[in-house]
Amino acid sequence: MCVAVPGKITEIIGSIANVDFHGNTVRVQLGLVQATVGDYVLVHAGCAIEVMKSGQAEELLTLFDELDAIMAPEKNDAN
């Protein structure tokens, strides 16, 4: 239920964006997010559902830093 992938907005016309995924361009609805040209958006079924802080590759790089941060007891998210 969760096939979604990040892409970069290259153009916005009204509430629709052209989003680039490593050379694939998809027309994407922007009605569920606030985004501008150059933003990375997570796209599910032709619709942006979230603005991402960075692309997928960058996000993976920070994954284990985040794991470290979670594992450190003083920084644990409390209930």
């Binding site: 802080k53 993976l60 470290d68 594992m71 209930n79």
Partner: protein, 360 residues
């Protein structure tokens, strides 16, 4: 931490046996594709939950889709996932071969475009999914209403994730025959919509940890590791490994769209039964866009040997069901889990039709 350290820790773990459930069909696929179970110690079991909205969909829903697609003046559209699911007699693909007007699309918004181009046809979308997809349906109908389009409808079979999680958790609490689930990998993209904090209440009341994870193998092993630490130290926090996508309270704009178009209602989950308030239906304002989504529940009679309920609730693996791979295959599915390639049994079958020696 590095990935190697995490993998080493998971492979060499010798602590108490733990069972971790992932509830998203996409996580199930990622775990199988990555061969992740082979990287874990025998004492860690990954269990697939009811995260396949397609296979928990009632037979009667597929039958209604086919009936609509066979109606003159109506065109039905669906995601690819739905095309091969059998209703009481046939699937949408088979119906298409018999003349039904059905096609699969990448986005529900393709249907909006079609409706504008062909005003004399009613265009119906088979609207299944969890919270990841629901806001898209909401946005679609809001746009349809703005444009004054009257020839577009949804036939909905929406499921929401928290009531299903509660059913699983309360089942393991109340009925001692079911094996416990010690922690949950929360679905990354559902969580993008509903937010990380959506799991706080369940975590607190049932004292179970949840970790929100993305879909790369790295994410999943990191999540398993994180849950392992929590479980063995008796913690029950909700943590987030997918902060690039999942915010504390999710996507407010998407939630607002959902609440403006849908309202909660009960739903029949094929293989589990009715779960209260586990679905969303079009509200009164948008009732004209409903192609008849209510009262589409039924319980098809399944073989007495079918163990779907135990598979969906995580008590057994698909290969533990006596019918798996023999009497029950995707071509002749006995129960919900094998019905689609995205149900737990369907996924296991896709990756290993025969009962493997070492796979768990």
């Amino acid at each position: 931490m590095q990935i190697d350290q995490v993998l080493h820790a998971l492979k060499t773990y010798e602590g108490p046996e733990i069972r971790i459930m992932e509830v998203c069909g996409t996580h199930t696929v990622a775990i199988m594709q990555g061969g992740l179970r082979s990287l874990l110690s025998d004492r860690i079991t990954l269990v697939s939950g009811p995260g396949c909205p397609v296979c928990v969909t009632a037979c009667a829903y597929i039958d209604r889709c086919i009936a609509l697609a066979m109606t003159p003046g109506v065109k039905l559209y669906s995601f690819g996932d739905m095309m091969k699911i059998k209703g009481s007699t046939k699937s949408l693909s088979e119906a298409k071969a018999s003349g039904a007007q059905v096609s699969f699309v990448y986005s529900p918004f393709d249907v909006l475009t079609a409706a504008e181009k062909e005003p004399d046809t009613m265009h119906v979308f088979a609207a299944v999914g969890f919270e990841t997809t629901v806001p898209i349906y909401a946005l679609l109908l809001q746009q349809a209403a703005e444009k004054g389009l009257k020839n577009i409808q949804l036939l909905t079979a929406i499921k929401t994730i928290l009531p299903a999680l509660e059913t699983i958790l309360s089942g393991t609490e109340n009925d001692g025959t079911e094996k416990p689930i010690h922690g949950f990998i929360a679905p990354g993209h559902v969580s993008a919509i509903i937010g990380k904090n959506a799991y706080l209440d369940l975590a607190r009341r049932y004292h179970r940890p949840f970790t929100v994870a993305g879909f790369s193998p790295e994410h999943i092993v990191a999540a398993v590791y994180q849950l392992l630490q929590q479980i063995n130290s008796g913690r029950a926090d909700v943590t987030n490994l997918y902060t690039g996508v999942v915010a504390e309270n999710g996507n407010a704009k998407a939630q607002k769209a959902m609440s403006e178009v849908f309202e909660p209602g009960d739903a029949l989950w094929r293989g589990i039964g009715t779960i209260t308030n586990s679905s969303l239906y079009l509200n009164r304002t948008y009732a004209a866009y409903d192609a008849g989504s209510q009262n589409l529940g039924d319980e098809p009679s399944e073989s007495a040997l079918c163990r779907c309920r135990d598979v969906i609730l995580g008590n057994i693996h698909p290969i533990d069901c006596p019918l798996f791979g023999t009497a029950c295959t995707p071509a002749h599915a006995q129960g919900a889990c094998m019905v689609s390639g995205e149900g737990a049994c369907g996924i296991w079958y896709r990756f290993s039709p025969k009962k493997p020696g070492k796979d768990r």
